[in-house]
């Protein structure tokens, strides 16, 4: 059977499973549509949260970025897990006690202002749409390779599939579909990693293999990798970074952003009790960690495999002849994500870091520039092929990558559609809308959001994980501070919260657009996106943490200069702090 047929069976089979579950669990009321009737147990909810959370960025892109950046890109590992600590302690239990459907619901009620609700809706949509772009990019990469179509066609296929189960299933469909997706994606991620870890270190557990001995050389794996990359002019894999400020702020942005992303917060409305919200955050992190502890192992092992494929006998010996290149290079060349350019016309692949400091060494070896470019986003998907694993493993990883992208896209689209149908239409524009009308509006806005995201997915501003990192910056700067102050300060008033959210959102967007172009349109950026131009060396990806501080600061000043919130609001804040008396999540009970 051809690899194409195997991929089709795995991808098609997993789709059939998700769609089957979505139909079986079809939501019949708005409450089921938004929060699955509030009856999901914490372990199941944790697993669904993990699938919701681990997107194309985590599955497809993250290991590739760590592989390319080494220690410096550990930020993604810490940032995307550390946020759960904030979520479990600062937000989840109190929002569960509050018992509403959506993030703007909380902000609108807590700050007794439909303006605040509206600003929250805007922040939510900006952050979520940016995030969905990253998913579409990732899904496009996966489809283009495995279904042997163009990446444009891949993105459209993804859009159709997401539309079906998100629109017809709602939250309940999504919860159970996401449990299935978690199982598919974790198996798909782990199996190739186990094989590769066994091949390289003899240790079947990748997270331990990372710190074990490399069988062929007898050196520790990471020491061997450092040696190999050094000979090719790259920075040491484990090298420390000099710009610690940027590294700290980037990690902080990802952490705060994690806690502020509406599609993750929504998940904690679906558990039966406040205590369950705390446990659920812990379980979510356990399930996430299963992938996140394996990812750094995949990253380093794939880098070593890639370099030893190109230089089988070391950097001094002749490199791999282009005509003898393995099948995986040939297949990925067709997608345009791997490129070879024989600059010195010797018919061999010289793959190295062509920087000025390495020029003399390269020249003495007869190299005329780096000849191979490998897109970071393909690394995890190509991993089984690089390690010569059997065809079914390749099919499995295709299904896993697509599951990761689709599950997150669906969760985000749900958050976007509920913000529009529930917060914007029902709570602001047309309060007398029927339950049926609200469901219809939710589905239409989902369709609209999918179209917008698909369009932006065709013109993305970066690798999947980088685009996603921008979404985190935006969520960190706008949503998280408003919710946190709403819970931890009885003094915070409507004007403070609104001014804070706007200041955080606008300052972060301004900083991002300055370097990446207005609304991500290429060539409209005012400054080149290089470290020399960054304010205090802070990259646009890291600015969310600064935006969050601006948000807190502005909110504090404005709030203290204006009237304290009314007494009943202060009582509401008090009541949110104690679990006693929490009913099921509802929007009918106030």
């Amino acid at each position: 059977m051809s690899q194409f047929a195997i991929n089709l069976i795995f991808v098609g089979g997993s789709f059939a499973l998700y769609i089957g579950i979505a139909i079986w669990a079809r939501a019949s009321s708005t409450k089921e549509f938004y929060v699955a009737g509030g009856g999901i147990n914490p372990v199941t909810n944790g697993m669904a949260t993990a699938a919701d959370w681990m997107s194309a960025a985590s599955f497809i892109s993250m290991a590739g970025l760590i592989s390319a950046g080494g220690y410096a890109n550990s930020t993604f590992l810490m940032g995307w897990t550390g946020g759960y600590v904030l979520l479990a302690m600062l937000l989840a239990p109190y929002l569960r006690k509050f018992g509403k459907f959506t993030v703007p619901d909380f902000i609108g009620d807590r700050f007794y202002s439909s303006k605040a609700r509206l600003v929250a809706v805007v922040c939510l949509i900006v952050a979520s749409v940016t995030y969905v772009i990253g998913q579409m990019t990732g899904a496009g990469v996966a489809f283009s390779r495995f279904l042997e179509v163009s990446s444009t066609a891949g993105i459209w296929i993804a859009a159709v599939i997401v539309f079906f189960y998100a629109v017809f299933g709602g939250m309940k469909g999504i919860t159970y579909t996401q449990v299935a997706q978690y199982v598919v994606l974790i198996i798909a991620y782990t199996i190739p990693a186990i094989f590769i870890s066994l091949q390289l270190t003899g240790n079947p557990i990748p997270m331990f293999g990372l710190f074990s001995e490399h069988t062929d050389s007898g050196m520790p794996l990471l020491a061997k990798l450092d040696e190999v990359v050094r000979e090719l002019g790259f920075r040491d894999y484990t090298a420390d970074v000099s710009n610690k400020l940027n590294m700290v702020l980037f990690t902080l942005s990802l952490m705060i952003g994690t806690a502020g992303l509406p599609h993750v917060i929504i998940r904690f409305f679906t558990v039966p009790k406040v205590a369950d919200a705390r446990w659920s955050a812990g379980w979510a992190l356990v399930f996430i960690a299963l992938l996140y502890l394996t990812a750094p192992a995949v990253a380093s092992m794939a880098r070593l495999n890639l370099l030893t494929t190109v230089f089988p006998d070391g950097a001094e010996a002749p490199a791999l002849a282009y005509d003898e290149r393995p099948q995986w290079i040939r297949s990925w060349e067709e997608t345009g994500l791997v490129n070879f350019d024989d600059k010195n016309n010797d018919g061999r692949i010289q793959f190295y870091n062509a920087v000025p400091s390495f020029e003399d060494t390269a020249e003495s070896r007869g190299w005329a520039g780096n000849e191979l470019t490998v897109n970071n986003d393909i690394l995890v998907l190509a991993n089984p092929e690089i390690a010569n694993l059997p065809g079914w493993v390749i099919g499995l990883i295709a299904a896993g990558g697509i599951a990761a992208a689709l599950s997150t896209a669906a969760g985000l689209l749900l958050a976007i559609s509920s913000a529009i149908s529930h917060d914007l239409i029902k709570k602001t524009l047309k309060p007398d809308i029927s339950e049926k009308g609200e469901m219809l509006a939710a589905r239409i806005s989902m369709g609209g959001a999918i179209l917008l995201a698909t369009y932006l997915g065709l013109n993305p501003p970066g690798f999947a994980a980088q685009t996603v990192a921008l979404a985190f910056g935006i969520a960190a700067a706008s949503i998280f501070p408003a919710i946190m102050m709403g819970i931890f300060s009885t003094r915070m008033n409507d004007k403070g919260a609104i001014a804070g959210m706007l200041a955080g959102l606008l300052s972060t967007l301004l900083y991002i657009f300055t370097y990446l172009g207005w609304f991500f349109i290429p060539d409209t950026n005012m400054l080149a996106n290089t470290a020399d131009n960054w304010l205090f060396g802070i990259s646009p990806l890291s600015f969310g943490a600064v935006g969050a501080m601006i948000n807190f600061g502005v909110a504090f000043i404005v709030s203290n200069a204006t009237d304290a919130p009314p007494k009943e609001i202060q009582e509401l804040v008090e009541s949110v702090r104690y679990p006693k008396g929490a009913g099921a999540a509802s929007h009918l009970s106030h």
């Binding site: 550990s74 600590v85 302690m89 484990t238 610690k244």
Partner: protein, 86 residues
Amino acid sequence: MSDEKSPAAQYWSANLRLILGCLIVWAFVSYGCAILFRPLLAGIQFGGTDLGFWFAQQGSILSFIGLIFFYAWKMNKLDKKFDLGE
């Protein structure tokens, strides 16, 4: 001061103390051991590299899991003690 507080206020300040303690550990393992103090930990070898690298790629994640379960467990005890649970 704490003698005059209502049980609810005592519960809340106990929660705040617990959160503060957990967040200090949270920041120490990630921003501390994995980033800022990595040069200080460079002498401690770990599996072919140094301890800071391990904290950045695995140690902090494991600590986060521990922290959340510890917090959930402590809070459940507080909920019962002050009879403020569900």
